[in-house]
Amino acid sequence: MTHSHGATGRVAAAGPETVAGHAARQTVAAARRRGRRRTSAVTAALVLVALGAFTATLALGEFDLPLPEVIRSLTGPLFAKATWESDFFVLDVRLPRVLTALLAGAAFGLSGALFQSLIRNPLASPDVIGITSGASAAAVVCVLVLGLGGMAVSFGALVGALVTATLIYLLAWRSGVSGYRLVLVGIGIAAVLSSLISYLMTTTQVSDAQRALEWLTGSLDGRSWPHAGTLALCLVPLLPATAVLARSLAALEFGDDTATGLGVRVASRRLALLAVAVALAAVATAAVGPVPFVALVSAPIARAVLRGRGPALTGAALAGAALMPVSDFVGQHLVGSTELPVGVVTGVVGAPYLLLMLATTNRSGRGG
């Protein structure tokens, strides 16, 4: 009796605070739960979209295949033998193409998110550090001057991108690299390279120039196993590296001083992150050309649907991996017999979405 009375008294004395504290904790927990639930819902939705595009690309085309046939081809002679047409179209033509699209999209999305977070600029995409301009100039030289095609162009583009990125970094280096100086040097170098591209494009046969234009637009046409395999091989070390390095990204976003205070070795971490972002964008660009917009828009899309701030790396990678195959599918089937390169479609698909998002978010700065 006394005991219970005492207990009641204690509860009564501490009551208001504990109840308020409890309520607050519950609210926070609920908000976190909602956030987590939203994240997993969005992740699931993005994966579903990517899978849908994957399946549709494998099944539909010049030669439509029923879904069971596609699955039989994919699983090999494990269950039942597929027809040779199915094997040919699914395994030799469509699978490498759609895998290239998925991987390149993820790499673009990831690298765009890293750049935007590192340079703290919503306009920052891999073009800033010369990936696009370097790869494009090298590819145009390969196509128009050296008369190369296929994997040779991809390899040239990769070399061009990495050399240009290194050059820009070194030119911007002056006892450390500030984001602002990096951006400005990038502008200068990109302008010179685009002059080179324009010069080559205006001094050759128009048909050759148009082939170069297709590469410059970003295209998955004719991407086969060597492309998909090389891209996958490059991503094997890059994705885990990104995952490890990204832990300090959130701290870096607070600014250099705060990040140092939080125990992050700012300069070396930033260089490592930058290198990873450059490598991701470079291998993706080499594989499919400088597809516009995927790197720029994946992170804002991810952030907007997740309703969060911060880098949202996984979301950005998934958004990129969904955007690319969808765009390629649309490009192959939209205009009758003419096949549009994926780069045309990413712009037309991605842009209105970003615009809609900008128009409907009601707090300034959201979506950026």
Partner: protein
């Protein structure tokens, strides 16, 4: 402010002198060199079959005037754009001007069969204006209004969408691509005087608006809240500034094609000289940009005589090394 008023004024005077020299050289130099006395003579009535006089009157004069006007317009537009968006990556093209002009010109070639440079001008200008209007409309829809981030993102989005459409047409129509690839480089050659006359009113209004916006841009540079507490109507100011950019950059792009590097780099160069005060950045940009453009045009005419390289090719080749060097040398006045 980094330098005193007097120093900045004399620097402005020196830039003006350099520009005058560049104009004189631009009139005299080219596939055929013409002495200065003949250049001056051709500005007055002259014997009708004198080839030197004709060359100056019919080709060099419009070309030089175009260089000066387009350069000044792009320099001013670039400075205003960077001030409004507070983003070092913002060139006037961020309003979608270049992409809009390009799309309309390609449609003009593809659908209406336009094939003269003079015919491009109106298509280019209307396209530039519509694209910019779209960007501004979208970016000011949400509750926050046209904040720099929204402006940048919606500009990038509209530009990407329009460019994709342009590319789609170019990949399907070889003939359109054959014409368009030359326009896209950006050139001062082959435009006649009437083009300049048509664009002049737009340029004049745009220049007045831009030059008057120095104080406003200074206030905006302090941040939206501070600007508001200084008595600025932030939204209205941004719209005026955007209008001047559309007029200036739209007219320049319609006349010469997209010359992105000028609008992007020159304000940064001006900022290196003047510090962050837009009342100085604007006039410096207005004089430095045509200087760069004319110098590039002159070098382009001399580099591969008797042929020539378009100004759009030469501007970055000439400007970028200087730009990178200066960016490395100086302590940067950030936006």
């Amino acid at each position: 402010m980094r330098s005193s008023r007097g120093k900045l004024l004399s620097g402005l005077g020196a830039t003006l002198c350099a520009l005058v020299v560049a104009i004189a050289v631009s009139m005299g130099v080219g596939t055929r060199s013409i002495p200065l006395s003949t250049v001056v003579g051709s500005l007055f009535p002259f014997p009708p079959h004198d080839m030197d006089h004709l060359a100056v009157r019919e080709s060099r004069l419009p070309r030089t005037a175009l260089g000066v006007l387009a350069g000044a317009a792009l320099g001013l537009a670039g400075a205003v754009m960077q001030g409004v968006s507070r983003n070092p990556l913002a060139d006037p093209g961020i309003l979608g001007v270049n992409a809009g002009a390009a799309l309309f010109i390609v449609v003009g070639i593809d659908v209406f069969g336009i094939n003269a440079l003079n015919g491009y001008v109106w298509f280019g200008f209307v396209g530039a204006a519509l694209a910019a209007f779209l960007v501004l409309a979208v970016s000011s829809l949400g509750r926050g209004g046209a904040t720099p981030v929204r402006l940048a993102l919606s500009g990038a989005a509209v530009a990407a969408a329009l460019t994709s459409l342009t590319t789609a047409i170019l990949l399907i129509n070889v003939d359109a691509f054959d014409q368009f690839r030359f326009w896209r480089v950006g050139s001062l050659a082959g435009r006649d005087g009437s083009v300049i006359g048509e664009a002049l009113p737009f340029l004049a209004v745009g220049a007045v608006l831009a030059l008057a916006s120095g104080r406003m841009l200074n206030a905006l540079a302090l941040g939206e809240d501070t600007a508001r507490s200084l008595g600025r109507h932030v939204h209205r100011d941004r719209m005026w500034a955007a209008l001047s950019v559309v007029l200036l950059c739209g007219a320049a792009t319609a006349m010469c094609g997209p010359l992105a590097f000028v609008g992007l780099a020159v304000p940064h160069l001006a900022r290196l000289v003047t510090g962050p005060d837009y009342r100085w950045i604007l006039p410096y940009s207005m004089l430095l940009a045509p200087l760069l453009l004319l110098a590039a045009d002159i070098v382009g005419r001399l580099a591969v005589r008797p042929s020539e390289l378009q100004v759009g090719l030469m501007t970055p080749v000439l400007g970028a090394p200087v730009f990178v060097l200066l960016v490395r040398r100086r302590r940067l006045a950030e936006l």
